[in-house]
């Protein structure tokens, strides 16, 4: 395992051994529930989850690479560790997924910054080692780029749909692919999210700790807000369920898939405001653009024409169809579940 400095742990708290960290700092979980000063950190942890649940990235007290105050560092780590405790106590899996994703995005930013750091070699080396240790991806610095063996690159890139990730559109030399710091980190995005998610899922669930109840209850309430989609998906056709799944996992849904999903939900009478949050986890989410596109599809802006949901046949050619026996005899996803004679 990597040995980490204080500010590294703050940036990549998921690398820390939680129990050990608390012990080193001389704290027990119980203290956080009772000590009024420490209790504040539970609130902070709750907020950290709340922000993640909203699909945003937690803005920490770390300003840029520097830390405002020495004391802020452990607080930063504690709020992460306590957030995990709260999530485990609440048992809300949708929240865990969202939290892991948001934390992955947050770490991504630091990784990228560390990789691009030209003044501090040790920061860069750490980022390179984090990537190697966690994902067995060996990257090397070469001039302004990072290079990675083509075979390693392909293992990750095959999951991307955008054409710029195709090997043909990359600079390849000596059996290696050249990447910018941003691209390097983007390449392992999915694995980073999976790693953090697994770490939380595999963490032991403690028994309820006095002083934690309030925040845990609030989390249970919070998670209700997100279960609406999963509850209603029961009646959705497989193609739509699959698309929602992809978005919930924070993976990339190709443009054609987003078009299908949006036009389907709009036809079912959902509003642009109801649909927009679905896209929040998308790797390239941009609120303004999403709203603009949804309004366009709904016909509430511009041309005023409302777009209709593509036919099953069309979706088949776009590899978006995941037909089951229940799909028999229908020609558009909109007919799914309607009894036909």
């Amino acid at each position: 395992m990597l040995s980490l400095g204080q500010d590294e742990i703050a940036k990549y708290p998921f690398l820390a051994d939680a129990g050990q960290y608390l012990k080193d700092k001389g704290f027990t979980l119980e203290q956080f529930g009772t000590d009024p000063d420490l209790k504040e950190l539970i609130t902070k942890a709750y907020e950290r989850i709340q922000v993640a649940a909203d699909g945003k990235i937690y803005k920490s007290d770390l300003i840029g690479d520097q830390v405002s105050k020495e004391a802020a560092l452990p607080r930063e780590v504690f709020s992460f560790l306590l957030a995990i405790v709260l999530l485990k106590l609440s048992g809300m899996h949708t929240l865990i997924k969202r939290f892991a994703l948001a934390e992955a995005r947050r770490a991504e930013k630091y990784l990228e910054k560390d990789l691009a750091n030209i003044s501090d070699e040790s920061k860069k080396q750490l980022a390179i080692r984090v990537i190697d240790d966690l994902f067995s991806v060996q990257i090397e610095k070469l001039d302004d780029y990072f290079v990675i063996p083509v075979s390693d690159y392909l293992k990750h890139s095959i999951n991307f749909h955008e054409r710029e990730w195709k090997l043909i559109n990359r600079h390849v030399e000596n059996g290696q692919v050249f990447l910018t710091p941003h691209e390097t980190v983007r390449l392992i995005r999915k694995e980073l999210g999976t790693y953090i998610n697994a770490k939380i899922v595999n963490a032991k669930t403690p028994t309820m700790i006095p002083g934690f109840e309030d925040s845990v209850n609030k989390l249970v309430m919070l998670s209700k807000k997100f279960s609406t989609f999963t509850v209603t998906t029961g009646e959705y056709p497989p193609c739509i369920k699959h698309a929602i799944d992809i978005l919930e996992k924070g993976e990339n849904l190709p443009h054609s898939g987003r078009f299908m999903l949006a036009t389907f939900l709009l036809s079912k009478g959902q509003s642009v405001q109801q649909i927009a949050p679905l896209f929040k986890n998308a790797p390239d989410y941009n609120e303004r653009v999403t709203l603009y596109q949804l309004n366009h599809l709904a016909g509430t802006s511009g041309s005023g024409t409302q777009y209709s949901c593509p036919s099953c046949e069309k979706l088949k050619t776009q590899s978006l169809c995941f037909a089951t026996s229940e799909c028999e005899g229908i020609i558009t996803p909109l007919q799914f579940g309607k009894k036909r004679k």
């Binding site: 095959i158 195709k166 090997l167 390849v172 000596n174 059996g175």
Partner: protein, 373 residues
């Protein structure tokens, strides 16, 4: 195929396997490979493991197969069913076939055999005798077919050595025994790559899916500085050499490309792909569980041997790959196209009884253009 023809072919093949066994390259790490074979007029037997030369020899002599195959993959248990084999890794393989090259010579040496009345006619859509459309096409590839295939092999090895730093000694080229080449690449970083990764590699080698941005063309405010240079490595370099033609024309060509715009540039890329990409068969390279024709074995589409080309430039497919005997045999031949084997011109024959050397008889019989008289 008629019983007498099969008997004849089997005895010719058996003689070859007996006399030329040293030509049959038993691949390294033999016991980790899956072998398979086909007999005339019967299906494929696979999931066979072979320990060494001796065992392979025995298998060939006992079964006298029409075709023999061996996996490019390595398994822990090559003789178990596919999902229990325990795949370890696979050599990189490529297949280049003249029939995929859209060559203009093809029409001249392709025959149509009618499935209904057995009439053989020059390449056509319908049987000239009975108008049936159930035709089987047989090609008697020419020198041009082989030369064009060689060009694709050279393109492929140029990409492999330059872009992927693959050692030239690790690239082995074989004549497929019919109308193309099989290329094996050893000791690469791709040994453990799966099908999807190999498929990306295929697109790279074939120049499929390129976007204008990679070659300097942008949708908005394109700028001539980002266009590739003549001397660049990789695809940007190959693209420049092909599209600019010469260093001095670079500037002029870029101006044209810019004025034609983005979508026209995309079209240029798609057109260029036909010329600068290497035309490999994607399915072969992607398949990590394939059994591939065994080097040194006979190809039953022709009776010629899949043979190693030590010097590709000098390799003469139809002189260097025929190892069957010169003993003459009488056949009823209906082969309206002349062909050349072992430097001997044969045919054309129009439904006539002729005495020809065994290697020529086998060639025509494999193509269904002759039977034992």
């Amino acid at each position: 195929m008629k019983e007498t023809d099969i008997k004849f072919l089997e005895s010719a093949f058996k003689k070859y396997y007996f006399e030329q066994f040293d030509l049959i390259r038993v691949p390294e790490r033999t016991s980790e490979r899956e072998f398979g074979y086909q007999k005339f007029n019967s299906g494929m037997t696979r999931h066979i493991s072979v320990k060494d030369d001796k065992e392979l020899h025995l298998m060939l002599m006992q079964n006298v197969p029409s075709d023999v195959y061996c996996s490019n993959a390595y398994y822990t248990f090559p003789n178990l069913p596919m999902n229990e084999k325990d795949w370890k890794e696979a050599d990189l393989i490529f297949d280049i076939d003249a029939k995929d090259l859209n060559l203009s010579c093809r029409a001249n040496h392709t025959l149509s055999i009618c499935n209904d009345c057995n009439e053989i006619s020059n390449n056509s859509e319908k049987c000239l005798k009975c108008n049936s459309t159930k035709l089987e096409k047989k090609s008697l590839p020419c020198k041009n077919c082989i030369d064009a295939s060689k060009t694709e092999v050279l393109k492929l090895s140029e990409i492999l050595t330059n872009d992927f730093s693959i050692n030239e000694d690790d690239i082995q080229v074989y004549f497929s025994g019919n109308e193309g080449f099989h290329i094996y690449v050893y000791n690469t970083q791709f040994q453990q790559s799966g099908s999807r990764e190999r498929s990306e590699l295929v697109d790279y080698i074939m120049f499929n899916g390129a976007i204008p941005e990679k070659f300097g063309m942008k949708k908005f405010k394109p700028n001539r500085n980002s266009f590739p240079d003549f001397s660049e490595s990789g695809w940007r370099g190959r693209f420049s050499k092909y599209v600019y033609g010469s260093k001095s024309k670079r500037s002029k060509v870029i101006s044209e490309l810019l004025s034609n715009g983005y979508s026209s540039f995309q079209k240029t890329l798609d057109d260029v792909s036909e010329n600068i990409g290497s035309k490999i068969d994607p399915n072969v390279t992607m398949d990590i569980h394939r059994i591939f024709r065994l080097p040194g074995s006979i190809n039953s589409k022709s009776g010629l041997t899949k043979i190693h080309c030590k010097d590709l430039a000098k390799f003469d497919a139809y002189a260097d790959s025929s190892f069957l005997s010169d003993d003459t045999v009488e056949v009823l031949a209906n082969c309206p196209i002349e062909f050349k084997l072992k430097n001997k011109k044969i045919g054309p024959y129009h439904n006539e009884k002729v005495s020809v050397p065994t290697f020529a008889a086998v060639y025509m019989m494999c193509k269904k253009l002759a039977t034992i008289a």
